[in-house]
Structures are given as C-alpha cells and as structure tokens.
C-alpha cells in the first residue's frame, strides 16, 4: 500500500507512515486496517474530542480502482457519543483522489490553534486559515475552498456548523452530498479546528496486477449492472425498499411504536421517481447510481433523500410529505449532521413530550405534535446551532433521555441511534444492532436483506425465516464477517458481487493468493479486533442489548405481536463466535486462531 500521511495539527509536523506488511495482509485496508493502526491509541481514558484523539481517513486496496462500487473510503476514531470504536463509510470521489495524490490514508492528531483547512496538492500539503469559513454550511464550504485554491478538479471533505459546535452526531461531507454520517466523526474533526481537507492527485491508482485486475473489474461491473437489486437501486433508489419494508412490518413508525404506516406510498422511492426525480448520481466508478437528484418548487436541482432519511423524517415522525423530507435532509446536510441520529433524537423528543416526560418548559415553548414539519425544522436548526433544547438534543438520544431520567425510552444501542430496519420485522437486525462495534448500525451487517431472502450460499449464509431467533445467530455472525470484508477493501454494500469474484479482485489488487475462506477469515479477524478494542475501552457483555422499545411487540402491521428473544440470540451468537459467554470478550483461543496473539495477551493476561 501507499503510505499514510500523519499530520499533527498542534505542531504542524507531518510524516509518512508505512503500514507494516503483515498488517496489510491480515487486515487488507479500510476500517479493519484502521482498527489495527489505531489499536494502541484508543484507550478508555481518551477523550474523543481532545487533541490527542486520532482521526483516520482510510482508503482500501480497491478504493478508486473502478471495481464494483469501490469509490469509497472510511473515517475512523473514537466515537464521541459512544466512547467506542467509530467508523463511518463515505462515497463520492475524495477517496480515489487521495490515492491519486499518493496516500492511502490521512492520520490526523492534535488541534489547530485557529480554524484551518488543509490543501493537499499531490505531495504538497498546506494548512490555510479557515476563520472566514467557520460557520459556513457544508455545500458552500466545498465551493469556497475549491474557489480559493483555484483547482476545480479538487475534491473537498468538510464539516458544517454542527461539526464546529461538536454536535455528537455531526458528519463529514464530500462531493456535495456524500456523507460519513454515523458516529460523529464530524465532531472530532471540529474539535481539531479542522474545517476542510481539499485533495488533488494525478497519479495512477496503484493496483498490484492491473493486467489481471482489469478484466475482472469489467466482468464484475457487467454482472452488477444486470443484477436485479442494482436495477431497483438505480431505478427507484434505496427508498425503493420502503413499500416492502412497511408491508413486512420492518419499517418503524412513530418513534418505533408502530409497525404500519398507511401512507408509505406517498414517501416511497417509487413515488419520488414518478414525481420529483430528475437525475441519478453515482460515486466514482459505480455502475449502480443509487444517488437521487430531485427538483422541488424552486426548480433547483438538489440531492434527493435515501431510505434512512425518508423513514427518519417520514414515518418516524408521522410525516407523509415527501418534499418536506427532501428539505429536512438537505438541512441536515448543510449543517453536517447524520439524518438517522438527528431524526431519531427528534423522534425521542416527540415521544417524551407525548408521554409528558418533557413539557413546553423544556422545549423553548415548542409544542411537539407528530407530523408537524415546521416544528421538526425548528428542532433541526436548534440542534445544528446548539441553541436551547437543541443543545441537549445535540448530545444524542442516550444523553438527552438520561437528562430527563428516561434513558430506557431512547432507541439507541451504546449511544448510537438505531437505524430504520426494525428487528421486530427482520429479527436478524436484533443481533446486528446489539453486537455492532459502533452501536446500533445497519451497515456493519445489513442483515435485513438476508431476512428478506438475499442469501449467500457460497459463504454459508442461508435463509432463515425473518422471525427465526437463536437459530440464525451463526448466520448473522457470518454476514458480519462478510460485511467487514467490504468495509476493509472499501466497497459499497450494495454491490451484489459473487464471493469468488470478490476474492479474485482482492488477489489481483493486493498480490495475494486467497481463497474465499481466507477472505472471510480476514473479515472475522477485523470484527474480533474491533470487539477487542471496545473491550479495552470498557465494553462488556452488558452492553450487548436492545432498547426496550424494540423488545415490545408492534400493535399493528406485518409483524404485530412478534418479540425478538435477544438473550437467546446472544447466547447462540457468542457460541458461534467463539466468545467468552461470561464476559462477551473474544476468547483467547479465538484470538490466537485469528493470528491476534498480541491482542489475546492484552485482553486475557
């Protein structure tokens, strides 16, 4: 791999960090390799918003190679809301550009004395003053930085006002609306007084054996282009899933208290396509193009929302107005805030207000009425500016609820708000959320797809009924390993690639001779390493749980009456993983089997 550029914003010093070869082989790249690199830096005592906290922008060996959906990279560190391992995956073109500049990562520590942005032009790095950009929204900042550096072809990663103010679910954005949304990496960047990173590179992106890689790339893209799921994503976007998810009772409504949403067709991806869609957008090299471009009344082209934004600002808040969801998603983008966490935390406020646990005295006089778009919009502004109740909401749902002695009401796991795939409709998500290394995440294992029927027989990921329980635990673990491979190379989970082809792509790109089993072992190694990092930072078996709301049956919809048996599922999961049932830690035997002897010593000696 190419070196990682280490930048200390306090001292201004830089150095090229060479990744040990054995780590490249064992962890490939992306989030898994980042976890190995940051392993010793991520301690229980580390304040994620302190100058000491690392922020690692990490590429994968396939990033920018125009393989199937490989335009992505990942941002890693310690989560400010969770205090755990944090990683957030992002598309666009910035990652490929960084690789073309000669680096496979940027490892940022320290804190600039005043707001700055970085301009990496090939191997020349410059820190520029950014006081005049502080307070600017993410879209404007990208444009202004590009203007200032006089390089239209540069790609710019930015934070918005939310990151500056350290909203704990602040995002990092690039290429207009591409977002590293989850786990608050934007707050970490803001705490470093780092407003943006512009990159321009002109080198060829390294591939170990391009002659071997190129035909595999063509073939896998050709197959992906014809894939049914890819066709759905291209034609109607990720929100195309809304109708079916609602039918199954897997799309939560009214802050996870209802399993049916009658007007789902008003907000679905199909409706968007028929009404306001004017174009589609894609990340670098992607043949799917799930991104939406829409036009509203002002006729301006703007980013259209994906499934999570649609459900978060739609059914979650009993809002069936698609155009308002577009606006709310854009508002979050401009502030630089994760839409899942923003909408979830606002939903919690509505929920507590309805239950009388908060009142107008707590909400700056706002009456929180379900479906009231004006109030939702005001709350987004208050969060982005950290004003009034927004200052409390900006700390995420766990802390917001705790401040009203209502922590059990918050639908979150370990400080990360639950995404909008409900385990009462697709039970595998119970384990996905409870055991994800970064909190309640649907991208560490999008197991809902498997519960719908998307099996991977070659990997031993078979079909279980969507309401099966402990019997699917090993299947979930296997799927997590598979997605950990994706997050290390770094590839979008929408690429429905054949595992044999995926191993061949990795081999050609990295000079390996791996089987599918070797590849899956790397995924398992990465998953266990992240677990070990979290164990060292204080995570125990008690952290593996679901919020109360997800354990209470829905009163309505396609999954009414079903309760996930999370304890039974966890027991089977630990056994399948080879983890110590008492502590939830990876066993010494398992760690050694995965070649993680040093980690085994740390955890068990």
């Amino acid at each position: 791999m190419q070196p990682i550029l280490k930048i200390d914003l306090t001292t201004g010093k830089t150095e090229e960090y060479r990744i040990p070869e054995v780590w490249e082989r064992d962890f490939l790249g992306g989030a898994s390799l980042a976890a190995r690199i940051l392993y010793s830096s991520l301690t229980r005592e580390l304040d994620p918003l302190s100058p000491d906290a690392p922020l690692l922008f990490m590429m994968g060996p396939l990033t920018g190679t125009s393989g199937p959906t490989t335009g992505r990279f990942v941002v890693c560190g310690k989560g400010p809301a969770t205090g755990l391992w944090a990683e957030s995956n992002i598309g666009g073109f910035w990652g490929p550009e960084l690789r073309a500049a000669g680096y496979d990562g940027l490892w940022i520590t320290g804190k600039a004395e005043e707001p700055v942005y970085l301009w990496l032009n090939g191997d020349r790095l410059e820190a520029r003053k950014a006081a005049h950009l502080w307070g600017q929204n993410t879209y404007t900042t990208q444009e202004k930085v590009r203007e200032e550096i006089g390089e239209k072809s540069a790609h710019v990663c930015v934070i918005g006002p939310a990151g500056e103010k350290q909203v704990l679910f602040a995002s990092i954005m690039c290429d207009h609306g591409r977002m590293a949304g989850r786990t608050g990496m934007g707050a970490v960047m803001g705490a470093k007084n780092l407003k943006a990173i512009a990159v321009r590179g002109v080198n060829q992106i390294p591939v170990f054996d391009l002659a071997k890689y190129a035909p595999l790339r063509s073939e896998s893209n050709r197959v992906l282009k014809q894939d049914n799921e890819a066709s759905v994503l291209r034609e109607i976007g990720t929100a195309g899933a809304a109708n079916y998810a609602e039918y199954l009772g897997a799309m939560p409504a009214k802050y996870y208290t209802r399993g049916a949403f009658e007007n789902v067709d008003h907000i679905s991806g199909a409706r968007m396509t028929e009404t306001i869609l004017v174009a589609r957008s894609a990340c670098q090299g992607c043949v799917i193009a799930c991104g939406r471009v829409v036009k509203l009344g002002d006729k301006a082209k703007r980013k259209g929302p994906e499934y999570e934004t649609i459900v978060g600002f739609g059914p979650n808040l009993l809002n069936d107005n698609l155009e308002s969801i577009v606006d709310l998603g854009e508002l979050c983008d401009r502030y630089g805030m994760d839409t899942i966490s923003t909408a979830n935390t606002i939903g919690l406020a509505f929920h507590l207000f309805e239950k009388g646990l908060i009142t107008e005295n707590d909400t700056n006089g706002l009456v929180l009425t379900w479906g009231d778009v004006g109030t939702i919009e005001q709350l987004v502004h208050l969060i982005g500016r950290r004003e009034g109740i927004g200052d409390l909401l900006a700390q995420g749902s766990r802390r917001f609820a705790a401040s009203f002695d209502a922590e059990e009401e918050a639908v979150q796991v370990n400080g990360l708000e639950v995404a909008y795939h409900d385990p009462r409709g697709v039970s595998g998500m119970a384990l996905s959320y409870a055991t994800s290394p970064r909190g309640a995440c649907h991208n560490q294992s999008d197991y809902f797809f498997v519960d719908w029927g998307h099996t991977h027989e070659r990997l031993g990921i078979t079909y279980f009924d969507r309401h099966a329980q402990a019997e699917k635990a090993a299947n979930v673990a296997r799927h997590q390993d598979w997605r950990t491979v994706f997050n290390s190379i770094v590839m979008c989970i929408f690429a429905n690639t054949d595992p044999e082809m995926q191993a061949r792509l990795i081999n050609a790109a990295c000079g390996l001779d791996w089987t599918v089993e070797d590849m899956m072992k790397a995924g398992e190694r990465g998953w266990n390493l992240k677990r070990a990092i979290n164990n060292r930072m204080g995570l125990t078996r008690a952290n593996d749980k679901l919020p109360r709301a997800l354990l209470e049956p829905f009163p309505d919809g396609g999954s009414a009456g079903f309760e996930p048996d999370i304890q039974g599922m966890l027991q089977a999961y630990y056994e399948a993983r080879g983890w110590d049932v008492a502590t939830g830690k990876p066993s010494r035997t398992k760690l050694i089997e995965l070649g993680l002897d040093e980690i085994a010593q740390d955890l068990w000696d």
């Binding site: 899933a241 991806g269 099996t455």
Partner: protein, 136 residues
C-alpha cells in the same frame, strides 16, 4: 385443478387458480400488467420455453403456452430463469424473494412497480405452487 409442470395443462390450471383464488384477487386488485416468462433449458428441458400471462386487476385475462416469438414485444415484465430455478421455486425449495434478490430469477420491467407489488408477486407464486402436483 392441478397438473404437471411444464405443460399447457399446467398453465391453464394456473389461469383457473388465479381467477378463483380470493386471496390473490384481493392482493392483486391493483395489478395491471402482463408477464412473459422465459425458462432456459436445463435438466429435462431441451429448449427455451415461453409462457405468457395477461394479469389485470386480480384476474388472469389470458394465457399462452409457447406463444410465437415476438408476439408480445413489450410486456410489462419479462422474467427469465433456468428450469431448475423455476422448478425449485414451484416446489418451495427456493424462496421467490431469494430468487429475485440473487438474480436467479431475472426481472426486466419497472422495478418501482415490482417493489410496490411484492405481496402480489409472492401470492402469484403461491398460486403457481398450489397447482403444481408434479415436475417433469
């Protein structure tokens, strides 16, 4: 009415089933669209087999077994699968959603319409399974 798959008798049986099944009629009440099935040769099937079904508002208006080539140039959906995959679906060995999501059943047509109507599609499959007594 039940029959051996694949045969004209089977297809007629499916037509009768779709027109008499109250659950299908209810779920498919808004469905508007014809289907052209291509079953690719494999196993006991030596050459490509084509079925045509005209489905409209919960009824089956017409079926054609081995329609002439190009007789239905613009069906709302074209579905293509190998013989073994189709028979696996009909015998319940292959989940129809799995078949679609893993592209073992290839779908050409409006994906928006398909995603809105997955329950209808699944119930169509149920009817097809119920009329299948034997696989050739």
């Amino acid at each position: 009415m039940a029959a051996i798959f694949p045969s004209e008798e089977w297809l007629k049986g499916l037509e009768a089933k779709l027109n008499s099944d109250t659950r299908y009629r209810d779920l498919a009440r808004n469905w508007e669209g014809d289907l052209l099935f291509f079953i690719e040769p494999e196993g006991h099937l030596d050459e490509r087999l084509t079925f045509y079904l005209d489905l409209w508002h919960g009824t089956c208006r017409k079926v054609e077994y081995k329609p002439p080539a190009e007789s239905h140039p613009n069906p709302v959906f074209t579905l293509t699968a190998s013989y073994n995959n189709i028979t696996s679906i009909l015998t319940g060995k292959l989940n129809p959603m799995t078949a679609m999501m893993t592209s073992r059943l290839k779908v050409k047509g409006s994906m928006g319409y398909m995603m809105r109507n997955v329950p209808t599609v699944l119930d169509f499959v149920r009817c097809a399974q119920e009329v299948t007594t034997e696989i050739l």
